[in-house]
Symmetry: C2
Subunit: 333 residues, 2 copies
Amino acid sequence: MSLDDKTEKPHDRLAKALEADLSATDALILQRMASENAPRIPEVTAHLVGAGGKRLRPMLTIAAARLCGYQGSLHHNLAAAVEFIHTATLLHDDVVDESKQRRGRPTANLLWDNKSSVLVGDYLFARSFQLMTDTQNLRVLSILSNASAVITEGEVLQLSAAEDLATTEDTYYKVVRGKTAALFSASAEAGAVLAGAPEEQISALHDYGESLGIAFQVVDDLLDYLSDAKTMGKNVGDDFRERKLTLPVIKAVAKATPEERAFWVRVIDKGDQHEGDLEHALELMKAHGSLEETRQAAIGWADRGRARLAILPAGDLRDMLDDLADYVVARLR
Amino acid sequence: MSLDDKTEKPHDRLAKALEADLSATDALILQRMASENAPRIPEVTAHLVGAGGKRLRPMLTIAAARLCGYQGSLHHNLAAAVEFIHTATLLHDDVVDESKQRRGRPTANLLWDNKSSVLVGDYLFARSFQLMTDTQNLRVLSILSNASAVITEGEVLQLSAAEDLATTEDTYYKVVRGKTAALFSASAEAGAVLAGAPEEQISALHDYGESLGIAFQVVDDLLDYLSDAKTMGKNVGDDFRERKLTLPVIKAVAKATPEERAFWVRVIDKGDQHEGDLEHALELMKAHGSLEETRQAAIGWADRGRARLAILPAGDLRDMLDDLADYVVARLR
């Protein structure tokens, strides 16, 4: 990674600009993660919260608050709260279905058992509400408690849509708006509300966060099918093996010949997967242009998000948020 | 159950006195349980929330608010919120450890898989925070978000204390205060705060709720070892098989001879249980008076709770709360 500002990644530039705020947030996260009565809790969270994640959601909160002129320090509480909600959903995502285990697949929670993942996730949820309550701002509480409900609805909807070839793009976007975009939009919106920004700025930052979140998830789902070093450690084909109906698959299924359809029914609906099926799925997606269409969709969402920034005060922070939307999509290049 | 008021159970008398409030709460529960985007959610919760549970926690909230002269309708939101928190913890308790499953024991969530239990529990948590936020009362939000964190700490502490013979009564009570009493005390306290009660009444209702919760859990743990019809469908020995260090066991282990200790090490620490072990454990508990001591402990907590009611306005509601403390312990007779 270059130290030259021009070639530095937008994410890193934003992180550098918000360094003091992010450090204060990290300190608060460490402090609120602790439990006098249950010392096991920080053990479980430390490897998640401290793992040098991208901190995208806290950055959105802090940048939104700053962009709207916030001068206090409660945006750190909000930033810690959104990171806790995010970490809690990661922990709960790790809980494995019994049926899935029985198929002999590796479990996602090797380090900790199901029960610990659930309880520590619950602890972080509770802590996040304490952090929000600290702000004494009822509108912020309303935004983030609504987002928490919507996130879970998205995850439940995803459970019902999994392994179901009839899933449409509409349903896909409903899932993505819930499980991913709701927290992105709430993170940005809550920062603006805390800053007492005018309604049009609050609304613009909400929309920016939402579009960024959708772009982010579409890119993630696309990367799951792209097999080069840029995927940074992700296993190619995880979604395929878990029979998830993500955008590239939905697009390929929509254009499938009867013969291709039989293939999708076998590998997704029935889960009867063999050696070479992932490669064949990839060929079908390429043949129908599904991967390229998915890429274009992501770029479209990023553009939509950037367009909403125009209303906000011009300056470095706005430019960096603008770049960030590009960057989310640039993971594809 | 008799219709004669004199022989009617205190719980039923209280439920009758609060009938209109409880109906309004039930309506709110049904309304907030619904999910437009994920219709599966009310399916999962209906059999829990609608299963005619005792509604002890919502009753505490409503009774506390009424006792302190509350005239509005936001106590229904609070009552629904505490029932949602309770139901969410039940759902999350149902998530099974992989290790436990491997021992071939029946799972607690036969109807729904682990993932659904987790997500729907999360949904209820989020909904409970929305309901609390509706009250626009920051102190109430603070009480209930703190309680949520403490509940989880209690459950995590219980996980670490399980299967560990060194667990003391101190640790046991720490677990109980967290996993059970924290929500009882918060339910009563929040009702009083919503009513704008004087501090001494708020504090008295908090303490009453806490003692009632501890008594309730101690009785529950005792009933797990008592094998007659009064246990109402509970399986005798569940805690024993799950190697939980509850009060009767802790008391028996404290008085164990070296030979008896070896038995406890085998069945609890090592989990090497055979036919007849539960019966032998019961004999040891009876021989050392552990069951009777546990019963006395529960009565002591109930008495402590009742004593704190003296400061509250005299009348039917206070009398019924007084009776309720007796009733919780009377499950033992």
